[in-house]
């Protein structure tokens, strides 16, 4: 899967409380969650972001709570991919379970806000202005799960076979 999108830069330790503050968690509606995405850090983010834009972050992206509302809020804005130096473990599983792609690469200091980058999510090749970077490969087990259509589709198939 090849993507081309504008970069939104974030720093280290972007926690789930800033991705989607808890006061909005009474809703499970992706549209509502998307409207408040990143609000504490950048109140106009949800309004300005465009479908296809890419988030680039630093270390430990998605740390904090297990709320799946976080990847849902990001996906609801049409963001298909986050590239970060590293990801918190619960967020990592949640994102893949929700169909949001993640790539591990340390590029936050090499890109400008608003810059357009090209990414091949399958091979992990990220084309920057000056060079190409290859992201850490997605673990083979996760690739299998993605190929099955995600955990929920895998479960659905399993239940259908059973019944």
């Amino acid at each position: 899967m090849k993507l081309k999108g504008r970069v939104w830069k974030f720093g280290d330790n972007i926690d789930t409380d800033v991705i989607i503050p808890a006061r909005y968690l009474a809703s499970t509606d992706p549209r509502v969650l998307g409207e408040h995405c990143m609000e504490p850090l950048n109140p106009t983010f949800a309004k300005k972001v465009k479908t296809g834009d890419i988030i680039v972050g630093g270390a430990n992206f998605g740390c904090g709570s297990s709320r799946e509302h976080a990847p849902i809020a990001i996906s609801a804005l049409g963001i298909p991919l986050i590239i970060s130096k590293s990801f918190a473990r619960i967020f990592y599983r949640n994102a893949f379970n929700k169909g949001l792609a993640l790539l591990e690469a340390d590029i936050v200091n090499e890109v400008d806000e608003g810059e357009e980058i090209e990414v091949d999510v399958t091979t992990g090749v990220i084309k920057l202005k000056t060079r190409e970077v290859i992201a850490k490969p997605i673990p083979p087990f996760m690739v299998e799960l993605i190929n099955e259509g995600g955990l929920i589709n895998y479960l659905r198939k399993k239940l259908e076979d059973h019944q």
């Binding site: 330790n13 504490p40 955990l151 659905r156």
Partner: protein
């Protein structure tokens, strides 16, 4: 090569003799947990996959603790949805209304988790049950659905980091000070994907309440789980609570650790994590005089009896400072009752504290104590991220119960000796 306690528990649930760090396993679950925020998403997925039943109606637990007593109509609708689901599928363990307590204080207290268990919960602080010598970890709602339906899930066996603690604890110091010290030392991603294992004479000397607080905050260092050796205190704790048989696992002497830290308990003073990361840890002495608008004593980290006892000892016969609000939240109905019997609640009310029903409430900025722009709070909770307890320009300091209670009396961050 020997195995760690975490590896042994995971191996036993995957039907294997041996597992190694990094290995992907499919493991049997003993319990799944969700709350009023995370269950609704899980139940949506449950319907989507066309599931007809849960794997075991006695092993699926719902605790309606986050936005309860319900703060608004959407929260009330979420709880209603969970109640209807629970009736339809015959779920035995639903904690609601006056039976509700903060999930991670409640489940051990109710005897629902036993040593050697594998537990997943759609709440990141599910790692708390490691204090019982169980493997427990937080997951998202989709993983929880998979667990609820199949009674299994996949795990990457984590590497282990050992924290060996020796020496004697100082007065007022609790498990919270140790875990803040550790997070300050290794950072908020210092144990990313790993298991944090606590051992040593100083750990044996800690109460179960302190051990729960330490395991609870493993996630704040990015860990998959926190875990403790089962000892006499653990066995005494589970004795009158637990109905199920259980297996005690123990790390081998030659088990493999990514890193081993030696910690002198006697050198750990009262710690405070400053805004806006749990790793931004300082000694309380360095922060004296910072005004606090609000104090919160409660949460799944520090809302247990030991915490309330310590706070009551400091607040007895004193008053909360006039321009400070202090909210005390006993974590479960049983803790609430015992605090009442021992006179702690009377002490709190006489000191002009607000005594809240058990709820996660202000910890995550949900309700029951939200901060305005520019306000500062000191709390015995677990996270101090930007806007965690309210306005994005409010700030949270994290501490143990003694520092929180002393700060309530002084109206500014204080050492308990200052108000003695």
């Amino acid at each position: 090569m020997g195995m760690t306690i975490t590896e042994k528990i995971l191996a036993s649930h995957a039907g294997k003799d041996v597992v190694e760090a990094g290995e992907i396993i499919d493991a049997r679950l003993d319990l799944t947990l969700a709350n009023d925020i995370t269950a609704p998403l899980s139940l949506e997925e449950f319907d989507k996959v066309g599931a007809k039943k849960v794997f075991d109606s006695e092993k699926v637990v719902f605790v309606l603790d986050h936005f309860t007593p319900n703060k608004d109509i959407p929260s009330a609708e979420n709880c209603k949805l969970i109640r209807e689901f629970s009736r339809k599928y015959g779920i035995t363990h639903v904690y609601d209304g006056g039976a509700c307590g903060i999930e991670h204080a409640l489940l051990p207290e109710e005897g629902l988790v036993v040593p050697g268990d594998v537990v997943i919960g759609a709440d990141s602080h599910t790692c708390t049950y490691g204090a019982l010598g169980a493997f427990s970890t937080g997951v998202g709602s989709t993983d929880l659905t998979y667990g609820m339906v199949t009674g299994r899930n996949w795990f990457k066996v984590p590497e282990s980091i050992k924290f060996h603690c020796y020496g004697k604890w100082q007065r007022w110091v609790t498990g919270k000070d140790l875990v803040l010290y550790v997070i300050g030392m290794i950072g908020v991603d210092g144990a990313l994907y790993a298991s944090m294992e606590y051992t040593g004479e100083a750990i044996s000397a800690l109460s179960m309440d302190s051990r729960f607080a330490i395991a609870n905050m493993a996630i704040e260092a990015g860990a998959k789980n926190g875990i403790f050796k089962v000892d006499e205190k653990t066995l005494a704790y589970v004795k009158d609570r637990v109905q199920r048989p259980y297996t005690v696992f123990e790390s081998d002497d030659d088990a493999k650790y990514r890193e081993i830290f030696e910690i002198d308990a006697g050198k750990i003073g009262l710690k405070v994590a400053c805004p806006s990361l749990p790793s931004n840890v300082k000694d309380v002495e360095e922060l004296k005089g910072i005004h606090v608008d609000q104090v919160v004593i409660g949460s799944c980290t520090n809302g247990r009896l030991e915490d309330l006892a310590m706070a009551a000892e400091i607040l007895r016969g004193k008053k909360v400072a006039s321009d400070t609000r202090c909210i005390v939240i006993p974590a479960t109905p049983k803790i609430y009752l015992e605090a009442m019997r021992r006179g702690y609640l009377e002490t709190f009310v006489e000191a002009r504290c607000i005594v809240s029903p058990p709820t996660c409430g202000p910890c995550l900025g949900g309700h029951m104590g939200i901060l305005a722009k520019g306000e500062k709070a000191i709390a015995t909770t677990n996270r101090n991220f930007v806007g965690r307890m309210g306005h994005p320009e409010s700030e949270v300091y994290l501490a143990g119960p003694a520092v929180a209670a002393a700060s309530a009396v002084k109206g500014s961050i204080s050492h308990p000796l200052e108000v003695a």
